[in-house]
Symmetry: C2
Subunit: 213 residues, 2 copies
Amino acid sequence: MFNAVRVRHFENMQYPEPIAKLIDSYTKLPGIGPKTATRLAFYTLGMNEEDVQDFSKALISAKTDLTFCSICGNITATDSDPCVICRDQSRDQSTIFVVENSRDVMAMENTRDYHGLYHVLNGVISPSAGTGPEDINLPSLIRRLSEHEEIKEVIVGTNANAEGEATAMYLARLLKPAGIEVTRLAHGLAVGSDIDYADELTLIKAVQGRTKL
Amino acid sequence: MFNAVRVRHFENMQYPEPIAKLIDSYTKLPGIGPKTATRLAFYTLGMNEEDVQDFSKALISAKTDLTFCSICGNITATDSDPCVICRDQSRDQSTIFVVENSRDVMAMENTRDYHGLYHVLNGVISPSAGTGPEDINLPSLIRRLSEHEEIKEVIVGTNANAEGEATAMYLARLLKPAGIEVTRLAHGLAVGSDIDYADELTLIKAVQGRTKL
């Protein structure tokens, strides 16, 4: 009951405008409610001036100095298009790894185990959300494949959920007839994980995809 | 094991500089690790331009357009010192509520049940952290009390932990001889809470402070 009262009045709070506005801005970030936003705003007041200046500039810079690579759709500095990966001729030009967003590229690069190219969809096909193939960075993949005959394999690395699977199926149906090998990341147990914590579907997939020792 | 590998390489990530810098800034906030910072940075890229501009300006404004009230130490706009509470002559000038920070003032104001004045210490006495009475906004409280004989009571609303209690004890010992009534917020059960969830110390305090029905 006490909490309910506090929360109700919380919206009426009258902080001085400069901090109220900062709280407001923090609240716009995902997963940050009014309580956390207030905590962050007061923390900001105590930060050293240079860090706050950097933060302020970084926000603007991220909005203005970044663009999507004109080849693969990965995020890149405006003055560095095509992106470093697309420009790197030492990478395997025969394989394209298709992912949903730039963070997936980073996750993959961090494994240091893949040396081909990428294509970032910046979305997924989602009939329920009304997102079709034309709404994501897919037409440019088709164009890329038709212009570069050296591409032999497309690895579909969309997420392992309904939309990711739908996008993978769409790509497979579209590209296979063109003689391009389309592969999908394996389903299975996470390395180091316990079998009894795995969900049933994952376990079924892990059995189906079992490998010889 | 997989996670360990990911985290290790995470620090080597090579995002384009504009977003890397923004991730870096978000990471400086309390409770925000590299993963969350990355998520927030990419979210920022998708925010509308105006919101990002506002956010950027609010950061600078919070650092430059705010100051501590010259009377009570509460946070206030630079062009509004003394703060609105200190300037409000309709408030009860005989009572000062001493709190650790401006958020506590807001919490108290939100109850709409207190109409006296405040004094914000912007800290607590903490021998373990080497914070003495001179390091917080305490000397100005003493001055304030000596200059305003109409102040009859000081309610000590520091937090109910070791440092808060130490600060309360210090204030009591200092002010009582000067004939000022020093009171402390009651300990007890939170309204709406269950007795069996209360910790033992709180329960003991609640019994000691029991009131007649």
